[in-house]
Symmetry: C2
Subunit: 283 residues, 2 copies
Amino acid sequence: MHQTLYIIYIMKLRTLFFSLLLMLQGTMLWAQDAFHLGMAGYTFVKFDIDKTLAFMKKIDVHYLCIKDFHLPIDANAEQIAQFKEKLAAHDVIGYAVGPIYMKDVEAVDKAFAYAQRVGVDLIVGVPGVWGDKGPRYDVLDRVEQKVKETGIRYAIHLHGPDMPLYPDATSIWNDVKDRDPRLGICLDIGHDLRAGSDPIKDLKRYGKRVFDIHLKDVTEGTKAGHAIELGRGAIDFPKFVKMLRKVGYKGSLSLEYEKDMTDPFIGIAESVGYFKSIQQNTH
Amino acid sequence: MHQTLYIIYIMKLRTLFFSLLLMLQGTMLWAQDAFHLGMAGYTFVKFDIDKTLAFMKKIDVHYLCIKDFHLPIDANAEQIAQFKEKLAAHDVIGYAVGPIYMKDVEAVDKAFAYAQRVGVDLIVGVPGVWGDKGPRYDVLDRVEQKVKETGIRYAIHLHGPDMPLYPDATSIWNDVKDRDPRLGICLDIGHDLRAGSDPIKDLKRYGKRVFDIHLKDVTEGTKAGHAIELGRGAIDFPKFVKMLRKVGYKGSLSLEYEKDMTDPFIGIAESVGYFKSIQQNTH
């Protein structure tokens, strides 16, 4: 009898040991990368937050950059609390807000107040509006002032060759390099490539000022290049992921999927599978 | 004027040259692997062939193992012609039929006649029916006879620990190794693992007799293991793909996705993205 109990005891110890080992392995796999996959809220411009979150649960992605069509810029404390409860119920962290276009200093103040109420430390923004021939520097000056005041970082979004307002990472770098170090870049790797730049080299060059990344693939590195599922286009993702590790990137890689915005789910899922595989298998 | 024409001519030549180069590159990328991704028709048991093909186009997968619920075993020449036209319109090749359960010799004859009418050189089959305690050897004998008669290969499907009728690759190998070399295995890597076997070692051991593969991932290598998106489970896909190359596998890797059969599309797309990434990035 005692011997039987002893054997059961040993077996339980062994089970415990292997469970611990599995847990450790799991933790190590995830712990290896300081960055994480996320979704750019803009991807879901045609869908409400419930559909968005249900889908994110399905594809096992847990970081969202919050767009104003899901949570309005003038949302009050109660609306924000309800919104964040929904996110939490789906294991999703709203890690930033934006992109927010800022036409004047009032818009800057509103955006920073919004970010404070939401409780994020990062705004993805543009000091200007669609159609501008270049940045609005009075707006950018106010952004810098608010960054210093609030401690919230500000990542300027780049748009590729479609508009002259920050087409690539270098154009942003030139405008932030001599400003507060909490002003930086949201590196849209697809648009950067379409603008004729090399997003992997830009990540290396401007690494410390890259606060957010829009993950996407495009068919070619010209203005004619258009959005496509990750892995089907021109970007070398293994090389890109290795560079993320090299520069010690710690932020989100938020998929902004613009191929088929009225029915993007299949393409997003393929892209997520593609990226997770690269992340797992390039160590 | 002549000089301008000359420059245009040179530019066109350059364009032609780069187009040819791109085509070559594309061909080489695909030509590197003799195997190809496909879909096991069973994945779409809840959907008709139109929905199936529209989805396959979206995920850019071009090989289908035809199941009887999409094309009945007694389909006549006209029905088969219409079915194959549909496939061709979606750039899909029906590379095999099955899995087909065969309860007796008549069922064997029917299945081979069906495969001949469809024009495929491979049947995925089972010499027996669900609930059997083991293979029906009179059926298997007739299969071998028909293989010799028609030249059509026969890959026996394995089922894991859920049924004693061919739980793993070894149980099939033992029954085919001394028979006609056109009798072989449809290696279901998930069920093989769940049966306590190692599908990668089995691929190495039985490589020449593996005619078809059911691609899937499972949560663990026990009977309790269940289907999950590729890359989220227990199978080491980079190692598996390297072994496919090592043994010179030339067939299809057909995704049999059984996690959520009433709404499998998101999970399939994630799995396809995951697998394409492995295939691209393990050379």
